[in-house]
Amino acid sequence: MLKNRLKELRARYSFTQIELAKQVGVTRQTIGFIEKGEFSPSVTLSLKLAKALDCDINEIFWLEGEIDNEE
């Protein structure tokens, strides 16, 4: 399962869901569903989100268990 810290990173830039959605060209609902972990975005959208939040894609998304295994 794909995990994310989109909400946390979005808060870092004080973006609202609507603002971030506009930046990456999707609806507010899509951002909300990604944050809740109920929707896995495409690679294209993930890259757009990483660019908008000025971070690496791995900082936003990771596979469940991956971080635990690394630790």
Partner: protein
């Protein structure tokens, strides 16, 4: 998206089907078709007082339906110029393709409809073959089957939208 007519479009389709169903039953019970061996046919409709009232009610329903339908489409198109409902396309109007989340949702709903038809059509064909069903009720069954697909589509989208905060 609450005022988006694309969400309620399947319900309009269902209402249209129910009106057609009313006419099918009317023709089925009040009409007679004679076919001639030399070719051609004659269609006769005999209206009793009940069926006369029924036909008037049905005509009023068609009139009201068309007025409300056109009015709501105009209102929707004015409110959402980027997502207009237009008859110039073969694509069903209820498809939501605003972004990848909604494309995915539409895919889920159409998959459910596909599954529904994959089961319902053979079952209906078997029932029609095995039971002595009149032509009127066969058509009525097909119309109800079509209404069912819109209900499945509508319900899937509605369930999703109610989870959107």
């Amino acid at each position: 998206m609450r005022n988006d007519m694309r969400l309620t479009y399947p319900l309009w389709q269902m209402a249209g089907i129910l009106i057609i169903l009313g006419f099918v039953l009317l023709v089925g019970y009040a009409g007679t078709v004679k076919t001639f061996p030399q070719g051609g046919f004659e269609f006769e409709i005999s209206l009793s007082s009940y069926s006369s009232i029924f036909i008037l009610v049905m005509l009023a329903a068609v009139f009201l339906y068309l007025i409300l339908f056109v009015f709501n489409i105009a209102k929707h198109n004015k409110r959402m110029p980027k997502h207009k409902i237009t008859m110039n396309t073969f694509k069903p109007q209820e498809y939501l393709e605003d972004d990848e989340l909604f494309q995915d949702l539409t895919k889920q709903a159409t998959k459910k409809v596909y599954t529904y038809f994959a089961w319902a059509l053979p079952i209906m064909a078997a029932v029609y073959m095995l039971l002595p069903i009149s032509k009127t009720w066969m058509i009525a069954g097909i119309l109800l089957l079509a209404a069912g697909q819109y209900w499945i589509f509508y319900w899937t989208i509605k369930k999703f939208m109610s989870s959107v905060d």
